[in-house]
Subunit: 241 residues, 6 copies
Amino acid sequence: MKMRPSGRKTDQMRRVSFERNFSKHAEGSCLVRFGDTHVLCTASLEEKVPAWLRNGGKGWITAEYGMLPRATGERMRREASAGKQSGRTQEIQRLIGRSLRAVVDLPALGERQISIDCDVLQADGGTRTASITGAWIALHDCLKWMEARNMIKVERVLKDHVAAISCGIFANQAVVDLDYLEDSAAETDANFVMTGSGGLVEIQGTAEGKPFTEEEFAELMRLAKDGIAELVGLQKQAIAG
Amino acid sequence: MKMRPSGRKTDQMRRVSFERNFSKHAEGSCLVRFGDTHVLCTASLEEKVPAWLRNGGKGWITAEYGMLPRATGERMRREASAGKQSGRTQEIQRLIGRSLRAVVDLPALGERQISIDCDVLQADGGTRTASITGAWIALHDCLKWMEARNMIKVERVLKDHVAAISCGIFANQAVVDLDYLEDSAAETDANFVMTGSGGLVEIQGTAEGKPFTEEEFAELMRLAKDGIAELVGLQKQAIAG
Amino acid sequence: MKMRPSGRKTDQMRRVSFERNFSKHAEGSCLVRFGDTHVLCTASLEEKVPAWLRNGGKGWITAEYGMLPRATGERMRREASAGKQSGRTQEIQRLIGRSLRAVVDLPALGERQISIDCDVLQADGGTRTASITGAWIALHDCLKWMEARNMIKVERVLKDHVAAISCGIFANQAVVDLDYLEDSAAETDANFVMTGSGGLVEIQGTAEGKPFTEEEFAELMRLAKDGIAELVGLQKQAIAG
Amino acid sequence: MKMRPSGRKTDQMRRVSFERNFSKHAEGSCLVRFGDTHVLCTASLEEKVPAWLRNGGKGWITAEYGMLPRATGERMRREASAGKQSGRTQEIQRLIGRSLRAVVDLPALGERQISIDCDVLQADGGTRTASITGAWIALHDCLKWMEARNMIKVERVLKDHVAAISCGIFANQAVVDLDYLEDSAAETDANFVMTGSGGLVEIQGTAEGKPFTEEEFAELMRLAKDGIAELVGLQKQAIAG
Amino acid sequence: MKMRPSGRKTDQMRRVSFERNFSKHAEGSCLVRFGDTHVLCTASLEEKVPAWLRNGGKGWITAEYGMLPRATGERMRREASAGKQSGRTQEIQRLIGRSLRAVVDLPALGERQISIDCDVLQADGGTRTASITGAWIALHDCLKWMEARNMIKVERVLKDHVAAISCGIFANQAVVDLDYLEDSAAETDANFVMTGSGGLVEIQGTAEGKPFTEEEFAELMRLAKDGIAELVGLQKQAIAG
Amino acid sequence: MKMRPSGRKTDQMRRVSFERNFSKHAEGSCLVRFGDTHVLCTASLEEKVPAWLRNGGKGWITAEYGMLPRATGERMRREASAGKQSGRTQEIQRLIGRSLRAVVDLPALGERQISIDCDVLQADGGTRTASITGAWIALHDCLKWMEARNMIKVERVLKDHVAAISCGIFANQAVVDLDYLEDSAAETDANFVMTGSGGLVEIQGTAEGKPFTEEEFAELMRLAKDGIAELVGLQKQAIAG
């Protein structure tokens, strides 16, 4: 059986760590590392909501995503200089926002917006899943900051954990947490977002060459469930620390 | 048990039709209707490929998606006038392109590009799934046009059918082919893209409020399989006509 | 005497038809066909006016124009993807708006805006004149929709018909309603917009190579008057239907 | 009979002057004044043509138009800062280019482009007609510059004069060369572009409120012919000087 | 010792002139000439301030800068057509605004904005320093216009003169007021902005190849002080005239 | 005498550190910290130069600058989402590029481009001076990477160190290395860029309220010289490490 390039077992994730309070200004922040993928996540509180939500008594969570130009093997053009965000960037930032909103009680947040920024300092595959997983920590810490100022109760606003992992069919076997080498060569690639209690928030599966079967997909989902449970465990340790 | 707004059964699709050769200029074209959702799909052949594919002996399929400003209940701002395509538009056109490429043998196409345009004339939910399903017809007819000129063999380039359907949890029951009313109110919304032989090409499932369970997701997939099989049958009739 | 490519007589227009209520959402809509030129015109009512008209008790009619990328013989770049509307597009949509406002009593409309969208599904010359002629039907039907809700009286707001036709010098003879082949080869090209009672609203005459004479221009105007009278007759039948 | 605000007679133009060689860098340049309307026209020679003309042995004349922000009574937003040219700007620069090309033998120019820039330093109505009239001088002087370097023969390239004037119905009478006050209040506004030998190059007539009649239009054309003849006379004096 | 291309002495400025009231519409305007560098400066009064200053009882001075496309030896692309202002343009307009604000008592101006536009009609080096020097005249005349309407007292709002000059090391000697030939070849280039009473407002020194020494910089500053004193003298004559 | 907010002495810099090889992909990289100002600098080698340098046998150094949205006390809008880089961003990235080019022998580099990216992870004043100082380390390490591959000799390409520091008049005293609190309140603010051998590369001095005197400026320059000498010492230690 062909080895994974990193020598990991099929169900073995990369080393994951969360460095809280990375940024002195943000209400919540976290540098999340999935192996060599490093994403800085910040949560910024603003005392206003988008125009279409105004006077509805409900808050909002939004997200933006970016990559430093040399986060990758070859330098990419800076999106600010290109004058627009790529389709991929927009897809990812919409996904991050939806994923976090799925575990937040927006009316309990009150008429405020929390803006999540996920900026990839170094990329090695799985930047979107690392972003979601780290953003949850930044969001949690932002809510703690608010609780310390009697603005909200964290437990009423944040209903559950949320974390994400990628899985894929690489060299004919299902593997979890793809790094860049695997991601580039995978036949099928799927991202899963799940809550701490095992609820599904988002599933995105894509055939990169030939279609995949239901059985393959079921196997990917099994790997994802275990991986996300592990990530949620690490999140719990991180916020306990 | 609560009825669907349209009175349809949970596993009942809307009336689907394909009007081929809608456009006199395009090499392939099709006006696809899923109930009140009407999308004009055209396939345009170009004798060149994007720069990054040049001299590789491989072709390419790309797609663009648009909505007429008053395709919807309220007039939306024209994207050409806004000066950019929304994140949603980009997400959809990337999905259409990927879905079609999954059933095309790109080297057999030769160094040419086929551009698919899906323009929504009228929207009532499910525009992306109707687009993919209709685009397959336009692509097929474009390839037939090429075959008639001895450029390719259709059966070597087009490996299978591809079609797509949306499913969702509406009023606590799994239903197929959501219209706009259902889509707006659904708790979970999933789009499936599958081939004629039942292979999975793309799965996108999203919780719109509370997370969904594996069982619910399995039920959505069952509905999708039946629906897509039906769509493939209708595609076969259409190209036989 | 050289024949027109279509075999039409010099003063013979193409077959013109109006398909009302093409769109289920718009307050007024019409698919207008001048031969193979097909334009979908919708009229959308909005209960607000542009900032510079606010609190003036006057309404506004505005127009936007677009072409589907494969409306033409060769696929054109999508303006939403290019990030801006061409000079030609802007010229045409300004013309459509001016032409309709010439027959509307804006104070009688009240402080509301009607947005006209003219989207060319298939082009074969004369898209701007077809747009104006079809837009009048969409506008009329939008006003009827408003009258049915006691918002206005159609006869007080809509003072007259308006229609448009192109004429040109093709192969040394003046001809009416140029199709694409004629348009590409015409030495002089003129568009006329006139009201039902024969008033001139807009004249645009352009030499495409050598200058034209006053006599030639007078002949073009004669053809235009007859053509527009015919179009107004067809509009009358359409709204009577 | 109501007077014109300036006290001019109905067929009386403003004082027109041409200041050649206004710019030391341009191959041809001219500051044209129609009363208080002042436009700086430059002609810049480039030894290349647009991509679509390459290797066709034909030259090209193109034009750009701009207004300084405070050329007008109220400061307008700078288009470079707004990030795009308005529809009006694009309409005018297309008109200037077409008008000049009508009197140029493009093959005789050779595979070169002359770019005309018309920048309005001060506006008081009629900026597009002043631009065309002054641009002809700049173009002429650029061609003279080329002739002095044995690149072309002016008389073979420049087939005729071209000049332009606006006319309109103001206070129920037809008047020539509208200034800003007249332009704002005119019921009908028409721009005429004609050659030195009286050929028509472009006619643009627009009703600003109520439609106009054929008789009114004929009267405007009579005024325009006389006015343009006068302008051509002044051009001749200017280049003789 | 190598001569300057123009034959000027090292401390000799070009001929400088101010043509006031160049524009009939602007509240203040001035065509400033530093040799062949000609800049039209206008000052436009607006009875509102930017959003971030609202209700603060303070006014604002802002500036925009532009170059006509053929102000230079080779035609440059029009920024309005390119769709954005270059970094150089933005740098210069920020500098002009800061320089003028340094001599204005913004609370004494009241809650109003004066917009300065500096448009280069012809360039021969030193456009930014000519712009600042001429803009002061336009600003002064705008304030006089306001004083004549009892809106402000000029002497309370305008605290001092401000003028600017470039100096540089050309052919190993320090020279003042570089023209284009010198500017292109200078090893070091420095712009100085100073007040009438000799206060420093802005210093920008740049090595264009090899670094410069403190002694060289001190020499440039000496030349600048004398040059600016001369410019302030000319400003005084101009506003006295 | 009023204390600096940080308690530092007037000539005391913040703690400065360089973390080399922060990024695994870039040929050279460095996380530079000036107190709480943290900038990630990367140097990316590309085997091509801008079009205007092609076939000239000369290399190029260019720079881009960005700030993460929550690098600052209040979240700023992401420039990629705004669709353009601010004037400030462009000013800074031009400065970084010029400063580095002043110490590089471009012909010795060969026909290659090194792109420097300076991304501010956390801001507390002085981001542009920290960027230049850290970018020199990234550039140095990129050149070392090239030397290890026998592409160049570092000592022939990199002629000297370059570093930068800000100084200002805060509370009536000249201080070095302003943090955000000082920067916001400073009356005069000056940035100095100097080489290791004490040559001046760039001076930018700006009065933020009242003009400054020559004596004050001389004092700022004295502080800058000492500060930059210290920075160069730290650079030497860093690359020795």
